[in-house]
Amino acid sequence: MSAVLEVSHLRKAFGGVVAVDDVSFEVRDGEILGIIGPNGSGKSTLFNCVLGQLRPTGGEVRVDGRTTTGMRPCDLNRLGVSRTFQLLQVFPQLSVRDNMVLAGQEHQGSLVARLIGRADAGLGDAADRMIAFFNLAHLAAEPAGALSYGQQKLLDAAMAFMAGPRLVLLDEPAGGVNLTMLGHLRERLAAYHAERNATFVVIEHQMEFVMALCTRVLVLAEGRIIAEGAPQDIRRNAAVIEAYLGH
C-alpha cells in the first residue's frame, strides 16, 4: 500500500517548549489511523503543522510523495487534504446548505468562472446529497448557528468531506458529543470510509470511538510517538497504559 501522507522528523517548538519532537509516521491509502495521547501531548500541534496552520520548526511533510511543508492551508486543501478542528468551526450565520457549498466551491473552476457562473457553483445537488448522508436534510435551510452542538459537529465533519478529499484529518470529532450522537457520527464516518475508500487520521480521546473506528493507532506522549499498532494491541501496551490509559 502506498503512503498518502508521510511525516518525517517533524518538530515544533514554542520558545523552549517542544510540542512535537521528532515525529515520523506514514498514513497508508485507505486506512483510518487513530492518534491518541494525553492532553498536551502535541496531537493538535502535529495536525496544525501537517496542515499548514503552523510552520514546523523542522522536518518534512509529504502528501502523495510531494513535499508540502509550509504550504498554505488553502493550497493543501486543493491538493485534497481536508480537516476538522477540535473546537467547533462552522459558519454560524450561513445556512447549512451554504456551509456545504462554501466547503466545496473553491474547488470548482477558476475565480472568474465562479463569479459569472451559477450561484451554487454547480454544487447544489452534491451539497444536498452530503447533507442527507449526514441526516441533516430537515435543517438544510437553517442557519448553522441554530443547530444543536451535536448537529453542528456532524455538519463540521460533512464540510470536510464536501470536496471529495483524498485525506481527511479529524481533530477530536467526538469531543463534547453525547453518546447517541457519537454512535451516529462514528457510523456515518465508517459508512463514508467504506463508500469512498477515503483515508482518515483521527485524533480522539474517546477510546471506544477510536477502538471501533480505527485500523491502526499511534500513541503520542510529550511530543513523541511512544507506541504504534492495532487497536487491541495498544490497549495491552504497558507504556500506553502508563502514559495515558492508566489515568
Binding site: 488553502c74 468551526q89 466551491q105
Partner: protein, 326 residues
C-alpha cells in the same frame, strides 16, 4: 427575497424615479447626494458588512475618486474615461491598503485605515501644485452624453440613479455568486474558510479593492454633483459618516446602505427645525439604536419578522414537549 421585500423594493424604485418631478432643485440635489453616497456605502458594506474587514478609509476613496475626475475632466479628458480611471485607481489603492488587513484585524485595522484617511487628506491639502490645496477645485462640469447635457439637476439625478442601479445590480450579482459566500466565510470564520480551500489572502484584498473601487466611483459622481471640491470634505468626518450609514442601515444587509444613506442625508435636513441641536439629537438616536439594535434598521426588520414567525410556529413544539414529558 420575500414577496413583501420584493414589493418594498419595487415601491422604492418607483418613488426614486417619480420623486424628483415633485421636488425643487434643492430636493433633487439631496436625493442625488443620496444616490452618490449610497454607492460609497455599498462599497463599505461589502468590505465591512460582508467580508468583515473594518475600514475607516471609505471617505478617502470618495475623495481620491472626486479629485481624479475633477483633475482629468479639467485637463480635457472625457468624463466616461475619468469615471473609469477613478474606479480603477481606487481599486488599485484599495488592494494595497488590504495588505495591512492580512496582518491585523478589528480595531487595529481601524487605526491603519484611519491613518490612511488622514494621509489622503494631508496630500490633498498640501500638494497644491496638483490639488489646489485648501482652495480646492472649482467649476467642475457635469458630463454630456451623446449631446444630452446633465448640467441641470433633474438629468444629473437620473444619471446618478442609473449609475447606482447598474453598480448595485453588479454588486448583487457578485454577492449571490460564490464570491459573496467566500466573503461571508471570511467574516464568519477565516481559519475554517482557509482550511476549506478559500484563498483568504486573495479574498481579503479583493474585498478591500472592490469596496474602495465603489468608493472611487461614488467620488466620481460626487465631484460633478457639488461642482466644487476641497480637502475638508474628505477628511475623517466623511469616513465616519459612511460607516454610520452602513451600520444604521444594517451592516451585511444588501439594502442596508440604501436605508442608511437616506437617513444620513435626510435627517439633518428634517431636523433643521432643531437648529444647533440636530447633531445632538442625531448622536442620541444613533446611541439608542446601537444599544438596542446593533444590527441596524434592516436587522430590526429581520428580527421582527423572525419573532412573528416563531410566534405563529410556537404552539406545535410546546404541545410536543408536553407529550414527551408525560
Amino acid at each position: 427575497m420575500t414577496p413583501l421585500g420584493r414589493l418594498a423594493a419595487a415601491f422604492a424604485a418607483i418613488v426614486a424615479v417619480a420623486l424628483p418631478f415633485l421636488l425643487k432643485p434643492f430636493g433633487i440635489y439631496l436625493i442625488s447626494m443620496w444616490a452618490v453616497l449610497t454607492v460609497a456605502a455599498i462599497g463599505l458594506n461589502l468590505t465591512l458588512g460582508y467580508a468583515g474587514q473594518v475600514s475607516m478609509a471609505q471617505g478617502a476613496f470618495v475623495g481620491i475618486g472626486a479629485y481624479t475626475v475633477a483633475l482629468l475632466t479639467q485637463a480635457g479628458c472625457p468624463f466616461a474615461l475619468a469615471f473609469a480611471a477613478a474606479g480603477v485607481l481606487c481599486f488599485a489603492i484599495g488592494w494595497m491598503l488590504g495588505y495591512p488587513a492580512l496582518r491585523v484585524a478589528h480595531h487595529y485595522l481601524a487605526f491603519v485605515t484611519l491613518a490612511f484617511t488622514t494621509l489622503v487628506f494631508l496630500v490633498l491639502r498640501n500638494e497644491e501644485w496638483l490639488t489646489g490645496g485648501t482652495y480646492g477645485i472649482n467649476g467642475i462640469s457635469r458630463p454630456v452624453f451623446f449631446g444630452l447635457s446633465t448640467a441641470k439637476p433633474l438629468p444629473f439625478y437620473f444619471f446618478c440613479l442609473g449609475t447606482l442601479a447598474v453598480l448595485s445590480l453588479a454588486t448583487w450579482w457578485m454577492l449571490r455568486s460564490p464570491w459573496g459566500r467566500a466573503f461571508k466565510g471570511l467574516r464568519e470564520n477565516p481559519i475554517r474558510a482557509q482550511s476549506l480551500g478559500t484563498d483568504t489572502r486573495r479574498y481579503t484584498l479583493m474585498a478591500f479593492a472592490i469596496g474602495a473601487g465603489l468608493g472611487g466611483l461614488s467620488g466620481a459622481l460626487y465631484a460633478p454633483l457639488v461642482q466644487f471640491i476641497e480637502p475638508g470634505s474628505f477628511a475623517l468626518g466623511l469616513s465616519f459618516n459612511l460607516l454610520l450609514m452602513v451600520i444604521v442601515g444594517g451592516s451585511g444587509y444588501f439594502f442596508g446602505p440604501f436605508v442608511g444613506a437616506l437617513i444620513a442625508v435626510l435627517l439633518p435636513e428634517w431636523m433643521r427645525v432643531a437648529e444647533g441641536y440636530y447633531l445632538i439629537v442625531y448622536a442620541m438616536l444613533v446611541m439608542v439604536m446601537m444599544a438596542f439594535c446593533p444590527s441596524g434598521l434592516l436587522g430590526l426588520v429581520a428580527r421582527i419578522k423572525a419573532a412573528s414567525r416563531s410566534n405563529r410556529a410556537a404552539p406545535a413544539p410546546a404541545l410536543r414537549a408536553e407529550g414527551a414529558g408525560s
